[in-house]
Symmetry: C2
Amino acid sequence: METGKTGRRTGSTQTRDAILEAAIASFTGSGYAATTIRGVARAADVDPALVMHFFGNKDGLFDAALRGAMPIEELASVLAGDLSSLGVRLTRRYLEVWESPQTGPRIRAIVGSIATTPAAAQIMRDFMSGALAAPLAKNLPGQHPDRRAILAAAQLMGLAFARYVLAVEPLASMTVEELTISVGPSVQRYLTGDLG
Amino acid sequence: METGKTGRRTGSTQTRDAILEAAIASFTGSGYAATTIRGVARAADVDPALVMHFFGNKDGLFDAALRGAMPIEELASVLAGDLSSLGVRLTRRYLEVWESPQTGPRIRAIVGSIATTPAAAQIMRDFMSGALAAPLAKNLPGQHPDRRAILAAAQLMGLAFARYVLAVEPLASMTVEELTISVGPSVQRYLTGDLG
């Protein structure tokens, strides 16, 4: 991947990889906010200008780290095959990617570095289980009401986060009624349906 | 709510509310990381010791802000009634709480302040829609493949966030197979089921 534009040889693929590794270490160790181009350059023993040459800015680094961590091809490989069982295949593979000793720790660390601070995660956790799931579980009959309630809460939280915090399309422009009709039966299934 | 422990009158409920308002303004305006006890005290025109008296520390402030923003009673009010339609009622009310001009802006701002920086949100948004949902949508027949794919992605992301980033129980200690059986059919419904 040497461009040959300048006389200076940079061993560019290896250099790029080294910078990316340093960036990942910083994002996961110090967090997104505390990571700087200068610090990453220092850790990779290169000039900050070289970091910017490869990645543009801190967000370019983060984007590369996120895309590098999530093995998209591994997820995409389940797309081929019977459409009527794609949901189950995709869910399993997606969980496996987050769990795998090879890919999991890095994905969890990178997503975690952006999403919360440890103290904030604790507060969110208490809120989700104490304020949202616990009152719901009390109203559910049968086995595992706690599992049912937290599965419903995770679905609702994922929906709200994608729609209201990330504003990802086309979720953000669907109406409340469209979303209620689309998502409500999934929540109902968690509350009272057959969960296997 | 005056305790009368000291001779000094603090007008404590009003003072507490004023501190909480200042904290919410700081969390939503400057973000979680940049908010300090000292800054909140200055904005509320009180001594930092008084902030700590009421809320303990920054995380106590954040916890109070989060709980104050989310109208739990309004959510809980849907619990009474027919269990077989609770999922739809809960989904609708939950969305309404995030949408309402009274409660929505504050919830979105507080959750957003903890969850991401604006640049990071942009990256997550691009990743979720470009890397996860787009390849999925290409494989779906019928109408609204883009909606189906992003609904599936939001479900999977919420699950992963709750389990791997927040580590909320009992999600965190369920097995991959239990989760696959529980969540897979919901994802399948988004991909190929009747969404109303």
